[in-house]
Amino acid sequence: MKGKLPIVLVLVTILLIVQGTLFAHHGNAAYDDKAPATIKGTVTEFQWVNPHVQIYVDVKNEQGEIVHWACETFSPSKAFRSGWTKDVLKPGDQVAVTVYPAKSHAPVGFIRKVVLANGKELGTEEQAQ
């Protein structure tokens, strides 16, 4: 059983990503849910606010320039039910954020998953009880 755990985790992750339904009360037309992307960088701001939780991340691009990414997800209450807390992130934290990027190609994305430096994952789906 122990040897099968990584496979199970991979399958569960795939399931979460595939089944994840993009939701924001502002609509889903601005984001490309067919091309999820993962950005890595340093948190500059973590906004635990309504209507949606926001994470701002400085990401170094291929030219070595800093790009300021703005990432959003659900309301704080839904993030809480998905395992987040208001102090789970702070400026300076290193993160990898998987997003549905804006179709406009602006550095804005709808968060699907956040991986912290210690490996902890923050999803955007509530777990079955």
Partner: protein, 273 residues
């Protein structure tokens, strides 16, 4: 359950047979059209209190099959009248076939979602029953509605409102809510479907087991739709323990504006009015 039966069988077959005779009728009584993943859920179904909808539920909770589409009554909208079609054509929704990045959905100006739209919103609501009324408190917009259960009829000459006038009664294990008196300012769904003040809504609530609430409703609005619009069955999950949380989620114009400036407009690639 299986494990318990297996252990009894190992020790004494007659006891196992007796247990099966006692347990099987109860299990079959618990069968419903809602899929169940474990026998534990079937056990709880028997314990579902009769005529009691109390609890905090969420439409968007995970692990539910065939949950029903969110944001709209069903995938098959009723045919619209010319009056409704003109309103639908003018709408710029954020979801559905006409989804637009610069949506003008009225809820983004903090207009209430209204009934029925808030019923299939993916945020929790809590149902509280009193002898005369059933209350529904919604996290989204921090609004509430009341459903009178004291046998009264709808008042005459209703002034249309966002939540309308609702009366409810039990028909067997189904709580049937009849609503009229809704204004035509709210959209019926996030796809921009309109409704008129003639909207007559009938919601049917059931609790197939202790963890689940289902709701199916009928839209009857002859000014807007040429036939009834039957919703699919919305399935809600009971929130328990630390998940049973509803926070203060008013719609605040300042917060919406800040979000538009920092997120929506950059994502859309242009200003949004």
């Amino acid at each position: 359950m299986k494990r318990r039966l297996k252990i009894r069988y190992r020790f004494t077959t007659p006891v196992a047979i007796l247990a099966a005779v006692l347990i099987l009728p109860a299990a079959s009584f618990a069968q419903t059209d809602v899929p169940k993943s474990t026998s534990a859920k079937a056990e709880k179904a028997v314990q579902t209190p009769a005529h009691n909808l109390s609890g905090m539920y969420e439409f968007f909770a995970r692990g539910v099959k065939g949950q029903g589409i969110y944001n709209t009554p069903s995938k098959d909208p009723a045919p619209m009248t010319p009056w409704a079609q003109a309103k639908y054509d003018a709408a710029k929704p954020g979801y559905g076939p006409k989804a637009s990045v610069d949506t003008t959905d009225p809820i983004l100006r903090c207009n209430p979602s209204g009934i029925p739209r808030i019923l299939y919103w993916p945020q929790p609501f809590e149902i509280v029953q009193t002898p005369e009324r059933v209350f529904m408190f919604f996290e989204h917009e921090r609004v509430w509605r009341q459903i009178w259960t004291d046998g009264r009829s709808h008042p005459k000459d209703l002034e249309p409102t966002w939540m309308g006038d609702s009366i409810g009664k039990w028909e067997g294990d189904t709580f049937v809510v009849d609503t009229i008196g809704l204004n035509d300012k709210s959209w019926l769904d996030a796809y921009g479907h309109p409704h008129s003040e003639e909207l007559h809504l009938v919601e049917r609530y059931r609790r197939p087991d202790a963890n689940t609430l289902t709701m199916q409703f009928t839209v009857d609005d002859p000014k807007a739709y040429t036939t009834h619009w039957e919703s699919d069955t919305k399935i809600y999950t009971l929130l328990r323990n630390e998940k049973a949380v509803m926070e203060e989620l008013f719609c605040i114009p300042d917060e919406e504006d800040a979000f538009t400036k920092r997120i929506r407009e950059p994502a859309a690639g242009r200003p949004i009015n």
